[in-house]
């Protein structure tokens, strides 16, 4: 009895499996992009807040003078 070779030829089944894997990768990368955008949005919010705080403090300072 001789050895049998798995995955010798490109089968339809394997291609479908690889397509599923690719779809999973796409899902994962989409998730990462959303995560990254969320971080930028948070940073933007913090930066805006910082500007507002700075203006407020300047105004408060001017009004005390």
């Amino acid at each position: 009895m001789s050895a049998h070779i798995l995955n010798k030829n490109g089968s339809e089944k394997r291609i479908l499996l690889l397509q599923k894997e690719l779809a999973l990768l796409q899902e994962q990368l989409n998730e990462r992009v959303l995560q990254s955008h969320k971080i930028i949005r948070n940073m933007q919010k913090l930066a805006d807040q910082k500007k507002v705080d700075s203006i407020k403090s300047k105004l408060a300072h001017n009004s005390t003078i």
């Binding site: 001789s2 050895a3 798995l6 995955n7 030829n9 894997e21 990768l25 990462r32 971080i39």
Partner: protein, 525 residues
């Protein structure tokens, strides 16, 4: 970045190709999928680069507060790159051909018939993990890979419940009544919950704690489990094919072994390896394959290797050799492809490359065969193997050589750091090759001899030396001892390698020697 859409779906390659058809040049069916993944990766990388650029600007505005967030933004990009690399590795594994021996084929069939886990043991590189992936590729079945670690426990293989997240959500006033959204299924949990039959690979189970395999028994038997927090039962609709691997780093518990179908995979024989190589590299030439395998098995038999090369290394090696147009292996070209530790490379090819096919010979002998001038330096005392005569240190210091003093009872060996000088044993150095003296240290050789600091020199000679005892003989050399107990070699060419001993010389002789003007190039003139 776009959401996955119907347009992004791939079309099968070679859809009309049937078995038995006229053979056409082989097309890698995964190449189109790889290309799409790379495009996806490039697209994502551009987005991350833009995000990081923006994050850097914002971080500068935010000062210290922004640093952590900038770090997070960078980390997400790195994680995406890791996802991409992991995907490529999975595609490689799912697409790799696998030579299934008749015995393993039978065992696999038995395990599937009985619905029991298949436990594969064998040394690393025998194809245990590869079998699970190849089977997944062959059957088009999703594979879930659970890598066992020393910290692995059975519970996290099933599921974990995120109490902390639920608490945080509750504090934020969010609805926490849907408990299911805090349940994260582990690899075994996902395999049992899957709507289709999957392959569950529990890799290197012997790395986990001893109780780990036993703790999985119940769920593996029943193919179901309860999520206590929600009261939900997860039961397999399709029994997964469970493949468990072990490198036999420790014995597995008896009850666990009883419930599995066990098979030990031996390292492939040369004939099997030849078949494996052909399956991966169909256009390999007969001569290259034969000579490469011959060398590969010699190297595997060499004593004292930290990591003997295995299947993946021989495949890489032959691919590199083929790409370079090598048709026949002589010596060990590209040893770095086969051997992963410098010590192993030195053991096989010698510290300076050119290999005289002397597996099993010591490094000093290999250096002599390369034509190097190899000297043993005088030790501090006759009982000291590692510590050189103290005057050696002063000589080297005065002559401006860099060196490491011996220390810690040989754990820090005495070494000379000079261009072309190689340490080939305890207090033993290849100093230069008379064919190319400018590349080594002929001056140092003369200086050491002049000061009486050389106790012996390994030389190759035609005059025969009589063996008193023989320790090893193979197709490359015979090693043994002469009547005085000195190690001697006879090479396949009939030459003898012996150690020429030097006694303590009279001071006047030393003086004369050290005053002689040495010209390393005199032989060439």
């Amino acid at each position: 970045m776009t959401e996955p859409t119907a347009e992004n779906k791939l079309t099968p390659l070679n859809p009309g190709k049937q078995e038995g058809q006229e053979s056409t040049p082989p097309v890698d069916p995964s190449s189109e999928i790889r290309a799409q993944a790379q495009q996806l990766g490039a697209e994502t990388a551009t987005i991350f680069a833009g995000d990081v650029e923006q994050a850097e600007v914002l971080a500068a505005e935010l000062g210290d507060d922004g640093d952590a967030l900038l770090g997070e933004a960078r980390a997400v990009g790195h994680q995406a790159a890791e996802d991409q690399a992991a995907f490529e590795a999975r595609v490689d594994r799912l697409s790799a051909p696998y030579v299934l021996s008749p015995e393993l084929s039978k065992v696999l069939e038995t395990a599937r018939l009985l619905g029991r886990p298949l436990l594969l043991e064998g040394e690393p590189g025998t194809g245990k993990t590869a079998l699970a992936y190849a089977l997944a590729g062959e059957e088009g079945m999703p594979i879930i890979h659970a890598q066992a670690k020393s910290t692995s426990n059975a519970q996290e293989m099933l599921y974990t419940f995120d109490v902390v997240k639920r608490l945080q959500d509750a504090q934020l006033g969010e609805d926490v009544s849907d408990l299911d959204k805090y349940v994260h299924l582990g690899p075994l949990g996902r395999a049992l919950a899957s709507g289709e039959q999957v392959i569950l690979l529990i890799d290197e189970v012997d790395k986990a704690k001893r109780d780990f395999p036993n703790d999985l028994l119940h769920e593996l038997d029943k193919m179901s489990f309860f999520i206590d927090e929600t009261g939900r039962e997860v039961a397999a609709v399709h029994r997964p094919i469970v493949i468990i691997t072990s490198n036999h780093e420790r014995d597995l518990p008896e009850p666990f072994l009883r419930r599995t179908v066990y098979h030990y995979i031996n390292f492939p024989s040369p004939d099997q390896m030849s078949e494996i190589v052909r399956a991966h590299i169909p256009d390999v030439s007969e001569r290259l394959l034969e000579t490469a395998l011959d060398r590969f098995y010699q190297i595997r038999q060499a004593q004292g290797l930290e990591k003997p090369p295995s299947t993946s290394e021989i495949l890489d090696w032959i691919q590199v050799l083929q790409a370079e147009g090598v048709t026949e292996v002589k010596g060990t070209p590209h040893p770095e492809t086969l051997l992963k530790y410098k010590r192993d490379v030195d053991r096989i090819v010698g510290a300076r490359g050119a290999n005289p096919e002397m597996v099993g010979a010591t490094e000093d002998v290999m250096a002599v065969l390369r034509g190097d001038r190899v000297v043993r330096l005088r030790a501090k005392s006759e009982y000291d193997r590692y510590e050189p005569d103290a005057t050696l240190y002063t000589l080297l210091a005065n002559e401006g050589y860099e060196f490491t003093m011996a220390g810690d009872y040989g754990r820090i060996p005495f070494d000379i750091h000079a261009q072309g000088v190689t340490r080939v044993g305890d207090l033993t150095f290849a100093l230069y090759n008379p064919q190319e003296p400018q590349k080594g240290e002929p001056y140092l050789y003369e200086a050491l001899k002049g000061r009486g600091l050389v106790s012996g020199e390994l030389v190759m000679q035609d005059e025969p030396v009589e063996f008193a005892t023989v320790e090893e003989s193979n197709r490359y050399f015979t090693r043994g001892k002469d009547a005085n107990g000195n190690t001697i070699y006879r090479t396949k060419e009939g030459k003898f390698i012996v150690e020429r001993k030097y006694g303590h010389e009279e001071d006047s002789d030393r003086e004369n020697r050290s005053q002689r003007v040495f010209d390393p190039f005199e032989d060439d003139q």
